[in-house]
Symmetry: C2
Subunit: 387 residues, 2 copies
C-alpha cells in the first residue's frame, strides 16, 4: 500500500470512486485502524458489557462522556484513581467528547456567555460552568487520548443568523482550547485535540467553519451537530459540505451517528471515525442488526427459532445462542438479554467497519458498499411494509 | 483417600470431628465434587451473567426453577429447542426444583387436593395444576439431571397437625413421582430424582419423613422448608433432625440456603449440596461478600478506595476493578454493577466450598471452619454495631 503521512495519522489508501480512505491513527494507547466505529461508554462503562466483552466485539477505541463523568464520579476522583483507562480497565484508546452536546440535550437550565456555558446538573440541579479552560481540565484529568473542544451545537432547525452567531463562539472557544492544550503540554504529551465543525444545514457556514478550524492546525477534526433530528439527506449533506474543506492528512470524525448504511455513506464522503449509542440502546430494546436490516427479538415468530441472530457471524451471541433463547430472555426481562444483544450489535458494527477497511484495501469499496446498503435498505423497507 | 460408593455417589472422606463429608456425585452431565454450592438460574439464566462467566466462577452445577420455566417459555418449547442445557448453553449438570416452593411464595390463589396443587400464574393468572405426574413431565422435558419430587412446604410457623398432614401428602406424592420416574425410564436413563424431607421445626416429623423416604430408595435426598423465615437455630435444627436418618451413601441437599457461615454449619451436620439466590440477589443491591462479612459498595467510604473487593481473590471482578469503580457503577445505576458483583459473590461461595473440600481432604475441616465462621461473624457483628 502506498501511504501518505502526518506524524500521528497515515492515509494508507484512497478509494478510486469516492472520497473514502483507509487510514491509521496513532494515540497514546495504541493505533486505530480506520474507518472505525467507537462504542459509547457514557458513564465509564459500555452499558451492560465488561471491558473484556467490549474488546471481544473487535472494538479498538471507545468514547467516554465528559458531561456524565464530570458530574459523577467527577474528574478529580477519576484522576486520583489513575485516570479513566485504569478506572474502567480499558487499555485501548479513549476519545472524550466536550460535554457540550449533553448540556443541550439533558440540561434544562442553561446560559451561554462569551466565557462558556452555565447549566444545571440533570442529577441534582447543581450549577456548573463549562469553559474551554475547564473543559480541557476535565478531559485532561480523565486522561483522554482524544479530547474534543468545547463547542455550541445549535438545534435543528435553527436560523442561519443563529447558527452563524454560534459558529463565531465555537471558533473562538476552539482557538482558546487549543492554546491551553499547547501551553499545558497536553498536545506535546501525545494527547490529541479535535476541532469541531458546526454550521447546521448551511453549506457556506460549514465551509467557513471547516476552513477556519483547518487554519488552527488541530490533530484532527470532528463534524458535529449532524445527529440533532434532521432527515438523512440533510445529515449527509452536512458531512459532504464539511469534509472537502478539512485537511487530507488529518482524521475526520462524525459525531453521534448513525445506522449501518449511513456509516458507509459517510465513509464515501471522506469520514474516518464514528460513535453512536444506537447498537447498545437498541439492544436494550430488543432490536438486533442483521445484513437485512433490524429485527425485534420479541417477535412471536422467533419463539422456536433455533438459528443465531445472524448465521455465520463470529461473536459470542451468534456462536452460542438461538433467537428463541434471546427472545425468552427479553420477554422474561432478564438483564442478560441486554448484554447478549449489545455484544451482537457492537460486533455487527465492528464487523461492518472491518469489511469496509478490507474493501478499501482491495480497491472495491464503492461497489461493495452500494450492494451492502441496497440489501440492508431493502430488508428495512420490507419490514416496515409488513407492520 | 479411602472411599465408599454407591453407583452414582461416592463418599471420599468423612470429617473426624463432625458429620461433614467430602463426596462425588455423578450425573449425565459430569461429576460434581461436594460440598457444592449451586447458583440459581431461575428463568434459564443466572441473572446478569453469561454461562461463560458462571463457569469462570468455578460453578460446577446450576439450578433451574421449574415453576418459572413452566410458565415461560414452557417445557414443550424448551424440549423442542433441545432441552434446557442447549437452550441456555450450559453443558454442566442442572438440578431443577419441583416448582412447589414458588407456588407457595409467588402465587396467591392456590388449592391443594389429594391429586396435586392448583394455582394461578403470577404472570397472567392462568390456572395451572401441578401433580407428581405433570411435575415429572416438566422436569423431563427440561432435561433435568437432578429432578425434585413435588412436595408441600408448610409456612413458618405452622401447627404440628398441619405439618403432619402436609407430610402425609408429601410422602404419597414422593412415592408416586418415583414410580412414574421408574416406569418412564427416567431413572434408567441416568437422571436422578431426589425426595424431599419436610416436617417443619418438629424433630419427630423430620425423622419420620426422612425414614419413610429412605425406604423408597431415592438416588438422593433434599431437606426442604428450612428457608421460610425461621431464625438460624431453628434452621440448623431442621437439618440436624433430618441428616442422621438419611442414607449415608446418598447425597443430601439443603434447599434455598444460606449465608456462608450457615453453609459451613450445615456441612458439619452432614449436608452436601446447597443453592441460594443470595449471592446474585444481594449483588443487585450492591452487597458484596468478604471473609469479614458483607459490605455495601454504595458506602461513601469506598469513593476513592483502590483496593479490590477482596485482596488476592482470583475472580474477574477482584483481578480488574477497584471498590471505587464498583461503587461508581452502582451509584450510576449501571447494569455492569450487577454483573461484576454477581461474579464476585458467586465466586466467593464457590471458593468457600473449594476450601471446605480441601480441608475435608486434609482432615482439619472442623477447626478451619470454626475459625472461618468466627472471623466472618465478628465482621458482621462489628458492621451492625457501626450502623
Amino acid at each position: 500500500m502506498s501511504s501518505e503521512s502526518n506524524t500521528h495519522f497515515t492515509v494508507l489508501k484512497t478509494d478510486p470512486a469516492s472520497a473514502a480512505r483507509r487510514c491509521e491513527l496513532r494515540t497514546r494507547h495504541g493505533t486505530v485502524q480506520t474507518p472505525v466505529f467507537m462504542p459509547v461508554g457514557t458513564q465509564g462503562t459500555v452499558k451492560s458489557l465488561t471491558p473484556t466483552q467490549v474488546k471481544e466485539t473487535g472494538a479498538q477505541i471507545i468514547l467516554g462522556n465528559t458531561y456524565h463523568l464530570n458530574l459523577r464520579p467527577g474528574p478529580q476522583t477519576v484522576r486520583a484513581l489513575g485516570g479513566l483507562h485504569k478506572f474502567m480497565d480499558w487499555d485501548g484508546p479513549i476519545l472524550t467528547d466536550s460535554g457540550g452536546f449533553q448540556v443541550f440535550s439533558l440540561s434544562k437550565l442553561r446560559k451561554i456567555t462569551e466565557a462558556g456555558i452555565t447549566f444545571a446538573s440533570h442529577l441534582d440541579g447543581a450549577r456548573i460552568t463549562l469553559t474551554p479552560r475547564s473543559c480541557l481540565d476535565i478531559q485532561s484529568a480523565l486522561g483522554s487520548d482524544i479530547a474534543m473542544v468545547l463547542d455550541i451545537c445549535p438545534p435543528f432547525p435553527a436560523t442561519k443568523r443563529d447558527v452563524a452567531d454560534a459558529n463565531r463562539t465555537t471558533l473562538r472557544w476552539a482557538n482558546e482550547f487549543l492554546c491551553h492544550a499547547t501551553d499545558d503540554g497536553f498536545l506535546a504529551a501525545g494527547h490529541h485535540v479535535f476541532g469541531i465543525v458546526q454550521g447546521g444545514i448551511y453549506d457556506d457556514l460549514r465551509r467557513e467553519c471547516a476552513e477556519a478550524l483547518s487554519q488552527m492546525d488541530f490533530p484532527g477534526y470532528a463534524i458535529g451537530g449532524v445527529s440533532v433530528g434532521e432527515p438523512e439527506p440533510e445529515m449527509l449533506q452536512q458531512v459532504a459540505a464539511s469534509t472537502p474543506f478539512l485537511p487530507h492528512f488529518k482524521p475526520r470524525y462524525v459525531m453521534g451517528v448513525g445506522t449501518p448504511p449511513q456509516l458507509l455513506k459517510m465513509i464515501a464522503l471522506g469520514a474516518d471515525m464514528f460513535d453512536c449509542v444506537m447498537p447498545t440502546r437498541l439492544a436494550r430494546h430488543g432490536t438486533a442488526f442483521t445484513p437485512d436490516g433490524t429485527i425485534n427479538i420479541k417477535n412471536e415468530k422467533f419463539k422456536l427459532d433455533e438459528a443465531p441472530l445472524v448465521e455465520g457471524l463470529d461473536n459470542y451471541t451468534c456462536r452460542r445462542f438461538s433467537r428463541a433463547y434471546l427472545r425468552h430472555l427479553y420477554v422474561a426481562g432478564e438483564m442478560l438479554s441486554s448484554t447478549l444483544l449489545s455484544i451482537h450489535n457492537i460486533h455487527f458494527f465492528q464487523d461492518l467497519m472491518r469489511q469496509a477497511r478490507e474493501h478499501l484495501e482491495a480497491g472495491d469499496f464503492t461497489p461493495w458498499s452500494r450492494e451492502w446498503i441496497a440489501r440492508y435498505e431493502a430488508g428495512e423497507a420490507a419490514r416496515k411494509q409488513r407492520r
